[in-house]
Symmetry: D2
């Protein structure tokens, strides 16, 4: 097997965007539980995100969600983030929390509603221009709840038109990434339910339109790493929203539900040239999109970026030459054995030592717990309205 020493250089520069909303409260339709220390402002969210980066070295950017992260001065926000050592990453639009969007936004039958949704994306692009963000991410929470309620195909055509208009507004160094999701909040049909739909829509737009793959947005049993491989092959994998799930879009900590799946996904990313440290041409963005409903949010994020890092190390350990040889000789058990050998290797001690050589804590979870940051924010952040999905 490849040794840790061999792969260590490829761990340099791994970057995972953390989402601002992960630091605010989230929950289910039944209840949102609050917790002490939750940010009240965008700046406090950015500060928490920067804290994750400080303890891990893995999270140099924070993605924003508009309008949850509306501020008056994005240039100032960008500067503030920079002072804390992080940059502003992907800008996420929101077309699911306005009463006008009850039956659709970019797909709505009413031209005025569509234009309103398009205008919202124009605002997002303005934010991008101010923050220096590369990616506009569109998750389309649109669909219908009852058969016959909408014209499935007409909606698809309107979506294409709306996206075209938005795409045309981007500058040459900006990208549009279109996320797909199997279901929720619509329960009969969803307008972008699968990678095929996202792919065909972005392929019609142009080179700077890409697919965003949220690892929790698939039907039960879906082979997600296959989709990763396919999208990389087609040159259309734009970004990841990492999280994990046992059932539906559970939005649990990445790697928590099925660590082996995360390993397989990252292996295909590396194999397909989507991992920047081993392929400098890669533009695939690694992001988290999770809900810390019941666990502490900052350590939840630290745990998550560490999970991605640990599984990346394991995936890099796969002896690719030996694997190829076994595959080509039809040695089913041998090939699987080489693959599993890397997965079962405990990379944590080596990673701890490697972190220390780079001025990072060997155990970021423990270091955070002992740092006093949590106690500080719990003491400081009294009054005001805790951030959430609104």
């Amino acid at each position: 097997m490849t040794s840790f020493t061999q792969i260590a250089p490829l761990l340099e520069g791994q970057a995972i965007e953390v989402p601002s909303w992960a630091y605010g409260n989230s929950g289910t339709r039944f209840k949102v539980f609050g917790s002490p220390g939750t940010p009240r402002t965008v700046e406090e969210k950015v500060a928490d995100a920067a804290t994750v980066h400080r303890f891990t070295g893995l999270a140099p950017a924070v993605s924003l969600h508009i309008p949850w992260d509306l501020v008056d001065d994005y240039t100032a926000l960008r500067a503030y983030a920079g002072e804390l050592g992080v940059s502003i990453g992907t800008i996420n639009s929101n077309t699911f929390q306005d009463d006008d969007y009850k039956l659709g936004a970019l797909t709505h039958v009413d031209r005025k509603v569509r234009q309103k949704a398009i205008d919202h994306h124009f605002e997002c692009i303005d934010v991008m221009n101010a923050t220096g963000s590369r990616d506009l991410k569109i998750w389309l929470a649109e669909g219908s709840n009852y058969p016959g309620q909408g014209d499935i195909r007409g909606r698809q055509d309107r979506l294409a038109q709306s996206l075209q208009t938005i795409y045309a507004r981007l500058s040459d160094d900006q990208r549009l990434v279109l996320e797909y999701k199997f279901f929720e909040p619509a329960f009969y049909h969803t307008d972008v339910p699968d990678w095929g739909t996202s792919y065909t829509q972005v392929a019609a737009l142009g080179d700077r339109a890409m697919v965003c793959l949220d690892t929790g947005h698939h039907a039960p049993g879906t082979n997600v790493e296959f989709i990763v491989a396919q999208l990389l092959r087609l040159g259309k994998l734009g970004s990841f929203d990492f999280n994990s799930r046992f059932y539906a879009d559970d939005d649990l900590i990445v790697g928590a539900a099925d660590p082996f799946q995360l390993f397989r996904i990252i292996f295909e990313v590396i194999r397909g040239g989507g991992y920047a440290p081993s392929n400098p041409d890669s533009e695939v963005a690694f992001m988290l999109d999770q809900c810390h409903n019941i666990e502490d949010k900052i350590p939840g994020q630290i745990r998550s970026v560490l999970n991605v890092q640990e599984m990346t190390a394991r995936a890099l350990l796969v002896d690719r030459d030996a694997l190829t040889a076994a595959q080509e000789s039809g040695d089913v058990l041998g090939a699987n054995g080489i693959f599993m050998d890397a997965f079962y290797t405990d990379v944590r001690p080596d990673l701890a030592a490697w972190r220390e050589t780079r001025g990072l804590p060997a155990d970021p979870m423990r270091a955070y717990a002992e740092s006093g940051y949590q106690q500080q924010i719990e003491a400081d952040r009294v009054g005001g309205t805790q951030a959430g999905w609104n």
Copy 2:
């Protein structure tokens, strides 16, 4: 095939409880859309429920949810409902919206939290005593999100103890019905995830403890009518929460997603003696539990009770003697054909005529639309706080 005339008497007395919360606002974790005319008080919810009954003759009871339906004087509420022609049905408890219940209620490791949850059920029993309700329904929204977070088995033991205490408080003419659910709001393990768990828990309690079957609370592909047949065989089917789903617990209008499944379920209810009009000994309660997130609420409920009635009529039309003969002769296509014949029969014209003979509108949906009730409540219900899940 059996004729409509033959089955018409068996449609007499069909009763479906409607839930008070169906008239308030509901939504997903992303957004709750409001709509004009939504009730602000328990009394307004009861009035809407009574309206459904007035137009359909199918919904003589309304189930309440505590604390969403807290009032000072349940005797007065009971009298008010009676004046409107309906009674108070099942009382639903709530152990998922208090901060103390974040990690469990009846299963919590902390005895004080468990006692608080038990006390809440005692309050519900007090309400039952005042309203004359027979059933205390417990949906246990408890579980864990991460492997290792809780002691799965210890929680099961504590649940048994808590239920025992609650059950002991019931009077002899009251029942405890325990609902199961596959997942949500917990995303790793749920404490009562399947009928087997609900059954073994209530079987340990006694004769007046039963299972509540929510038709949307199963894993993908589950044969729900099999569970209906099994629970009736075991004498433990207490009640239904009807709704429909394409994916998870979508809570769509009953019969909307898969009308044929509803037909099969009701067929097994009738065959197993769980349909009161054809088996006076039956104590199985038919209830709705749905979310009208985007559609109008009162017509949504009218549509729902009509769907149950129409599918009941179809299920009654099955020529049971011919079916048995085909089954016993091993005639696969013949038996299936007899079954499908009833399903494909359009009972709507006969039902319309039958309704009119009983002083009900032939087309309750149209009659409601033309009645002016909706316009009236939209005009009247201005100000105040629209009811929802809180």
Copy 3:
């Protein structure tokens, strides 16, 4: 609602290809049950297929599977079919029953194995040339059972090359249709697991390469009618393999498991211009692909084509203008009601009468049962080897 009289002309010319293998024995991995009267030869299969057409007027073509339907003289077979009133339809290739294909065929790492599989398709094209078939259907039963066993992406590239070679061999009036399937017989990854993969592969080939949609080949919960609408929108829906399922690829009689789903699918076919009687430009082929493991095969096929016809009639009954009006006004319940009204209409009496006006039996199932055909073949087909999947 639209009346039956209005839609009757659109029922003219509906054509459903029946598969030769439906008349042979099939089963599960556990057991294949035989039954009296099962065909021993290709000719007997064609005769049974012609019988289905004679009783229904719906099945003017029979699709073949190579090598299960190998004969020396396809010109003679074509003539024989013609005498019986049917034509030879789609030719299906088989790359899953040769020992060489254990680890792949068109995707195999070994160039010799790939060439063997390509050559098999050349033979199929020869058959097409002799039979006058338009479509070469490729179901790729390829994949892997264990992570690491194969190079997922390399296989995709080799598949593209193999398909290119096959496609180049087709004449200008022939088409290649590529079927996708979620899983089975491979249990970890499948090389063409979803419509997106099939679409991107055929889009790379050219205009005469299309997607084949088998209604049973999706993940649990997949909205199949959405895929139908999308593929029609993209101009890439080549053909259907109809059947139904409760769980996986159960291959039950079409419409048996979820009649409402079949209704929704056919509605989208019509709406999208894929139904030839209402859109003469349509080239979408309707086929069955089912397994009659325990039921009688010929009546199983009769039941199936009737189910498609009945559901087509219902889908045609949808009042499209009223539906559009309701959709555009945002009337969720109204639009759904218009849609359901057509589904719940019992078209069987009108269809029976319509059949009689065309010289067909009003009740094809009964007419077949009373015809003596089944008794005849049971008496005649003694000795020899019953046809099956080999």
Copy 4:
């Protein structure tokens, strides 16, 4: 964390029954691939099973399947196995490969068919008496394919009667274990589809009737470790059929699809007292039930028992005291972290060393490959009929 030294004693005596049929050919409904060296006789299967034990020390018993393993003299077979160092384990009945059982066996409407199936179980008990087997395992491959085909509830009643008769035939030291399965080979309803049904059926029989849990026989998303915990709590977990799956009943190598799930399952077994080395009172049988369709069979089985052993070691490493403390303090991330720490620990080097101290090869896979056994059986086993599912 607990150290390997502490847990090593608990690895002593771990025993996993291997199934005789794993050494024969298996496949899908599409194709069964053969391979050189496949056993032709029961004795050769037992020899292969004994080989697995010789290289691993983990597989001291082999389970038989009647009639696949029919021999004239079971006493001789028992002696032969003993000479090779293994015993005969569970006896599996088969009621799915006789034409009479097409529509049912223990549930059939025809009393004669039921009696035939009961008599078959009596024969299996005779075999048990001769082989000294403790357990009669019944997997009921019964159900129906079409709604209406059978009387779901009547079948359940007949099943209860049939099981009663079989159970009464057992001696006091024998057990009946009833396996459940979500679907296949029946595709509409299955007579024992879930643990609840198996539990209620065996609970009605008596103390020596238990549930068999096949890890691949559940609906998508099912929390299998919850069922393990529940059955142990109810005192009704009789045995495991281990294997793994991505989709349906894929019957892949245990631990291959989701190693973390295997870890969670074994953790609950240990926690619930079902692991004999740490609870001498436990009578839970660990068995494999897998299909090596494309991989080599003997190394496939070696890999499997090693996977169970490795995951058992990891599960034993969980620091139960620390876990309980974290759970009781509501530390979600802490409790999960303790749990994951054990899972991520690489126990393989310690296990290799431990094996050597016990006279076993450090790397059983490599030792087998280098032993020449495979070459020997490939050379020896020429001619005859390779064993399979018949």
